[in-house]
């Protein structure tokens, strides 16, 4: 077993703490450290035990909020919510990214990957926007998300956003999409999608735009590197070309989804 000397010394409290230890204490500490590391290595090799649907359902009454609540309405890890910065008078998509969707790592990473794998601009845009609605609501986020953006984006991008939710449940190795292990964790390993999802999948399989939502799933990385640096800047041109920013600001243009933008802008309103 290789020992990371720095990590070992740090685990003991740093060089100063080590200097105060006698040889016997150091030897004992090293032995404990190696035992812990060995346990970690063995644990890493064990197959992960995924929860069942019943086990996930049993967690419902352990939370003070519903699982499907949009992230602007709940505090991080069960903590109280914090005051949020008001939106500008005429908010743009970028303002929402900065003030309501942040940190938005997931969608930024998906769009970054879509760009690097040579996707069309409609797909890159769909990847950038596909999960933004999770700030507002989570269940059926494909349909909600498509509705939120539909008045402002190309039809293909809206189609991709609406149906990526369905295709996430169905692997397509030819297209490069595997059922993600994260879904075993969040839905349960014995989960079967409801009938409306199955029916939607059957419809999509024969649809001429099947690949639009499929390519969103291919670039939809639920698991991502938390250290990767991403920003919205590389997508400014695509947003400029494909997102019809209303001059009144999002939420004030009387579009079919304006109320959704206003709710995101003011989630603390009582009614």
């Amino acid at each position: 077993m290789e020992i990371d000397r720095r990590a070992f010394i740090a685990s003991l409290g740093g060089p100063a703490a080590v200097a105060l230890m006698d040889h016997e204490a150091k030897a004992e500490a090293l032995e404990h450290y190696m035992e812990d590391k060995l346990d970690e290595m063995v644990a890493a090799q064990q197959p992960e035990k995924f929860p069942t649907v019943a086990e996930i359902e049993a967690q419902i009454e352990t939370r003070p909020f519903r699982r499907g609540t949009g992230s602007v309405f709940t505090g991080a890890r069960g903590q109280n919510v914090k005051k949020i910065e008001p939106m500008p008078d005429k908010p743009t998509l970028q303002d929402f990214f900065r003030l309501r969707f942040a940190p938005a790592n997931h969608v930024l990473q998906s769009a970054t990957r879509a760009m690097k794998t040579g996707m069309s601009e409609e797909i890159i845009l769909a990847c950038l926007l596909h999960d933004c609605v999770l700030s507002l609501i989570k269940p059926d986020h494909g349909w909600w998300g498509a509705q939120l953006f539909e008045p402002y984006i190309p039809e293909k991008s809206a189609f991709a956003i609406r149906y990526h939710q369905t295709l996430r449940f169905y692997p397509d190795t030819e297209a490069g999409y595997e059922y993600p292990d994260q879904y075993y964790r969040i839905f349960g390993h014995d989960y079967t999608p409801p009938k409306y999802i199955e029916d939607t999948y059957k419809m999509l399989k024969n649809h001429k735009w099947y690949m639009e939502p499929r390519l969103v799933t291919v670039n939809d990385l639920y698991a991502f590197d938390p250290n990767a640096k991403v920003s919205i800047e590389p997508f400014e041109d695509i947003i400029g070309r494909h997102f019809k920013q209303p001059k009144e600001g999002l939420g004030y243009d009387n579009s079919s989804s304006a109320h959704m933008w206003r709710t995101l802008a003011r989630p603390d309103n009582p009614l």
């Binding site: 197959p47 995924f50 990957r113 760009m115 999409y177 059922y179 292990d181 990385l221 590197d225």
Partner: protein, 144 residues
Amino acid sequence: MLKAFRAYLLLAALAAAAQAGKAQTVNGLQMTVSGVKLMEKAGLRDCPPGTNTVNAVQRPGDQLSVVTVAFKVLPDFKPRPPGTMKRPVATAADGTAYNTSVQFVDVGSVPEYSCDFVYRIPSGTVLKTLQIEDAKFDLSAPDK
């Protein structure tokens, strides 16, 4: 006759082993198959390993065959537009082709790297070849 046939098989196996471990170069990208193994769970990291850390999990009736390939970017490597390099295709002995969900992303971004290409295949299936662009690798060598 039997002796000659055995010798032929041995030579064929040796040739396959040599081919699997032998470097092949396409567009300035040198590739060497360094191993094939079966796993219950496998990471679908991009190639070169990047931000995608989605995992594939073995399901009843199938297995995950992981082909490891070492890459070296040579001086004559010429970057191509994103998405140009297709995902490697593996073929089993019966000729069935299998796709991987591991994608090439920025292949010239680091000088040397190793990638695991994950194939979900029916239990008991053995992969025979791996095709990356114009390069074809024999995976049937005993130690590969």
